[in-house]
C-alpha cells in the first residue's frame, strides 16, 4: 500500500527544488549564467576551464597564467581548423559540448546567436573590458541580448581590416593609394588575391566598382570586374599564411590581405613588405570571444575572458599575434600599452623593424574609420551572391 505521507513529502521536496531552480538557485559557479553574476570577482567558480581558440599562443598563455592565479584543477586549450568545427559541435551537442569559451568572429557569432547557441556576457561589470565606443557601439547594436537578461553575445578582442593592399617593396616602390592597382595590367601574373572566403574577394570587387562592400547594388558588375582581374591573377590564396608568404617571397608583387598578416610579415619576419588601406575604403571586423550556452563552467569562463583583457592579456595578444587589440588610440601612442610595446619590442619580443612604425599602424584615426565599412551584418542575398561570384571567378 502506498504511503500517502511519503508521497506528499516527496512532492514537497520536488516543489521546493523546482521553485529554487526558477529563482536562480544556489549561487555557485556551476549553475548560474554569466549575466546572473552579481559581484566581481564572483564569489564562487568552478576549478575547470575548457577553451577553443585559434589564437592558439595567446590562449595557451592565458589559460596557463589564469589557472595558476586562480588555482584551477584542470584546463584545456584546443584550436580548430574552421569555424564550422565549433559551430557544429555546439549544434550537435547543445547540452554536452563541454566547451567554456570560443574564439570566433562576427559572422559565425551571428549564426550561433541565431541558433541560440551562445550566452550573453555581462560586459558592463567586467573591470578589464574597456573597449572604446568606436569599436563597441556596432556590437552593442547587433549583438546585445534581447532576452531580458542583458549582456553581449561575444566580446571583440581584435580589430581586423580587409582587404588591404599588401605589396613587396623590392618589386614595387610606389603603389599609390588606390585599389585600382590590383587591376593594373602592368602587374599581370604578379598578383595573388586572398580568397579563403568569398566575402574578402568580392569586397575588393565591390570597392573597385565604388560600391558598399557589405551591401552592394550591382553584383553583376562585381563579378565582371573580378573576371577581368582573373587574367592578371596567378593564384587565389586559400589561407592567410600562403598569401603572406607569396608577397614576402616576391612570388606575388602585390595582392589583397588583412592588416594583421601584414604586421606579421613586417614585424615578425622582417619581410620586404608594406601595405595600405585603399582610398576607396575597406571593411573592418572583429575577432571575438564567446561563451556557449550550457558551458560547463560559465562563471570561470567569464572570469577568464576578463583576465584576457587585462593589461598583460593585451600585451600578450600583441606579442603572440600582432593583431590590433580594441583599445583607445592614445593607449598605443601615449599610454602604458605603448610603453610596453616600445620596451619589449626588440629584446623581449624579438620583433623586427621599428616599434614606432607598428604603433602608427595600430592607430585607427576617426578619418580612417569613416572610410571603413563594418563587415557585418550582411544579408542572406549578399552571402549567397558572393559565394556564387567567388565560385565562378575562382573556377574560371
Amino acid at each position: 500500500m502506498t504511503n500517502r505521507r511519503a508521497i506528499l513529502k516527496t512532492a514537497g521536496v520536488l516543489g521546493t527544488g523546482c521553485l529554487a531552480g526558477c529563482l536562480g538557485g544556489d549561487s555557485d559557479g556551476e549553475s548560474i549564467r554569466p549575466v546572473a553574476i552579481e559581484e566581481w570577482p564572483p564569489e564562487s567558480y568552478n576549478n575547470e576551464l575548457n577553451t577553443w581558440n585559434w589564437y592558439a599562443e595567446w590562449n595557451e598563455w592565458g589559460t596557463e597564467a589564469f589557472a595558476e592565479e586562480y588555482d584551477l584543477d584542470s584546463y584545456s586549450t584546443e584550436t580548430y581548423a574552421s569555424p564550422g568545427d565549433w559551430f557544429t559541435n555546439l549544434q550537435s551537442n547543445p547540452e554536452n559540448h563541454g566547451i567554456d569559451q570560443i574564439g570566433a568572429f562576427s559572422e559565425w557569432q551571428y549564426r550561433a546567436v541565431e541558433e541560440d547557441l551562445l550566452e550573453p556576457i555581462p560586459i558592463d561589470m567586467m573591470p578589464n573590458v574597456e573597449i572604446p565606443d568606436q569599436y563597441l557601439d556596432v556590437h552593442r547594436e547587433q549583438f546585445w541580448s534581447d532576452d531580458g537578461a542583458g549582456g553581449l553575445y561575444g566580446i571583440p578582442h581584435s580589430i581586423v581590416i580587409s582587404p588591404i593592399v599588401m605589396y613587396n617593396t623590392e618589386e614595387l616602390q610606389d603603389p599609390g593609394e588606390s585599389i585600382d592597382i590590383l587591376w593594373d595590367e602592368e602587374f599581370a601574373d604578379e598578383i595573388s588575391m586572398i580568397a579563403h572566403q568569398p566575402a574578402i574577394l568580392c569586397e575588393a570587387g565591390a570597392l573597385y566598382t565604388g560600391q558598399d562592400p557589405t551591401d552592394p547594388d550591382d553584383f553583376e558588375e562585381i563579378q565582371e570586374v573580378l573576371e577581368q582581374q582573373r587574367d592578371l591573377v596567378f593564384t587565389y590564396a586559400d589561407d592567410h599564411q600562403t598569401q603572406m608568404q607569396l608577397v614576402m617571397s616576391g612570388d606575388a608583387t602585390l595582392g589583397s590581405h588583412m592588416d594583421g598578416r601584414a604586421f606579421r610579415a613586417i614585424y615578425n619576419h622582417g619581410g620586404d613588405v608594406d601595405w595600405f588601406i585603399p582610398e576607396e575604403g575597406a571593411t573592418w571586423g572583429t575577432d571575438t570571444l564567446v561563451i556557449p550556452k550550457n558551458a560547463p563552467n560559465p562563471v570561470t569562463s567569464t572570469m577568464y575572458l576578463d583576465y584576457l583583457f587585462s593589461d598583460e592579456g593585451m600585451e600578450q595578444l600583441i606579442d603572440t599575434s600582432l593583431y590590433r587589440p580594441p583599445v583607445a588610440n592614445d593607449e598605443f601612442t601615449d599610454g602604458e600599452l605603448g610603453e610596453i610595446i616600445r620596451e619589449n619590442w626588440t629584446d623581449e619580443w624579438e620583433k623586427e623593424g621599428d616599434a614606432e612604425d607598428f604603433i602608427d599602424d595600430l592607430v585607427l584615426t576617426e578619418e580612417t574609420m569613416d572610410n571603413l565599412y563594418h563587415n557585418w551584418p550582411r544579408s542572406d542575398e549578399v552571402i549567397e551572391r558572393y559565394d556564387e561570384i567567388w565560385t565562378a571567378v575562382t573556377a574560371g
Binding site: T235, D238, E384, T391, A392, T394, A395
Partner: protein, 306 residues
C-alpha cells in the same frame, strides 16, 4: 582460484554456448558480421541519410522542403566545375595507375628488397596529409627545391613558377594516392602464377605480348581495386587543389567545403555531397557490372559437357 568443479562447470557452460551458436547459422553470421554492419550503419549510412535530408531543406532544421538545391547543381557553373573535377580525377587515376603498376611490377620482378621497397611505399601514410602538401609547396615554389635543382644542372635559368597550376594539383594528387594504388597491384602481381608467362614465351610470345595477353589480364582484379581506390578520393579532393592549385583549379570538393565552412549554405553543400556520392556509387556499380558481365561472358568452352 577456481576449483576443479568450478572449472568443469565453466567449461560445460562454454561448450553449451558454443554449441548453441554452432547450431544456429544465422546467429553465427549475425555475431560475425553484426559489429561491422553496425559500424557501417552508424558511421556511413546514417550520416549519408542525414546529408540527404539536409539536401531537401531550405535551411537548418526545422525548415521547409525544397528541390532547389538539386536544381542549382545543374547551373552551368557547377556542371563546369564537376566536369573539370572529372578531368582532373581521370588524369590522376590514369597517371597513378600507370606509375603504380610499373612500380609494383618492378618490385615483384626485378627486386630482392621487396619488403624495404613496400615499406618505403607506405611510409608517406605515416605523415600528416597537410604536412605532405606543404612539403610539395616547398619543392614547387619559386625558390623551392625543384627550381634550385633545375638551375643547378642548367635546365632552366632563373625562377620558374610550378606552383598554382593544374600540373601541380595533378602531381600532388598522384603523390598522395600512389601508395594506395601500389598495394593492390603488388598483391595481384605477386600472387600470379609465373609459369603462365613462361608458357606464353615457350609458345612464341615476346615480352610485350606475354605482358598484354597474360600478366595484364591475370592482374586485372588488382587494377580494378587500384582504380577505385584512386578515382573515388581523387574525385572528392579539396585540400590538394586548394593548396597547390591556381586560378581555374577549383574542384567540386572545394565548393562543398566552401558551402559548409564559408557560405553557410549547408543544404546546397549537402545536395552537392549527395550528387557526388551518387556519381561515385554509379561508377562503382558500373565497375561491378563490368566485372560481373565479364564473368558471365567468360564461360568455359567445355560448359555443358560432363
Amino acid at each position: 582460484m577456481a576449483t576443479k568443479t568450478e572449472q568443469s562447470t565453466i567449461n560445460e557452460y562454454s561448450q553449451s554456448v558454443l554449441k548453441y551458436i554452432r547450431d544456429r547459422p544465422r546467429l553465427r553470421v549475425l555475431l560475425l558480421v553484426g559489429p561491422t554492419v553496425g559500424l557501417l550503419v552508424a558511421f556511413v549510412i546514417v550520416p549519408v541519410l542525414i546529408m540527404l535530408w539536409y539536401a531537401f531543406l531550405t535551411g537548418l532544421p526545422p525548415a521547409d522542403y525544397t528541390l532547389e538545391n538539386f536544381a542549382r547543381i545543374f547551373d552551368p557553373l557547377y556542371l563546369g566545375i564537376i566536369w573539370d573535377t572529372f578531368l582532373i580525377a581521370t588524369g590522376t587515376t590514369i597517371f597513378t595507375v600507370a606509375l603504380g603498376y610499373t612500380l609494383a611490377y618492378s618490385m615483384v620482378r626485378f627486386s630482392t628488397k621487396t619488403t624495404v621497397l613496400l615499406l618505403l611505399v607506405i611510409l608517406p601514410f605515416w605523415t600528416n596529409y597537410i604536412v605532405r602538401m606543404y612539403a610539395w609547396i616547398n619543392i614547387l615554389q619559386a625558390d623551392g627545391v625543384l627550381n634550385w635543382a633545375l638551375n643547378s644542372v642548367g635546365i632552366v635559368e632563373g625562377s620558374q613558377r610550378f606552383m598554382f597550376s593544374h600540373e601541380a594539383v595533378l602531381v600532388g594528387l598522384i603523390y598522395v594516392w600512389l601508395p594506395l594504388a601500389v598495394l593492390p597491384f603488388y598483391a595481384s602481381i605477386k600472387t600470379m602464377d609465373e609459369d603462365l608467362i613462361e608458357a606464353a614465351k615457350d609458345l612464341g610470345a615476346g615480352p610485350l605480348k606475354a605482358f598484354f595477353t597474360v600478366t595484364l589480364p591475370m592482374t586485372k582484379n588488382g587494377i580494378y581495386a587500384g582504380l577505385i581506390l584512386v578515382a573515388v578520393p581523387a574525385f572528392g579532393a579539396f585540400v590538394t587543389p586548394a593548396l597547390l592549385g591556381g586560378t581555374g583549379s577549383v574542384m567540386i570538393g572545394m565548393v562543398i567545403d566552401n558551402q559548409f565552412n564559408q557560405a553557410f549554405n549547408w543544404n546546397f553543400g549537402a545536395a552537392l555531397g549527395v550528387f557526388l556520392t551518387l556519381v561515385v556509387l554509379a561508377s562503382l556499380l558500373l565497375a561491378v557490372l563490368a566485372g560481373v558481365e565479364d564473368k558471365i561472358l567468360k564461360r568455359p568452352e567445355t560448359e555443358g559437357e560432363t
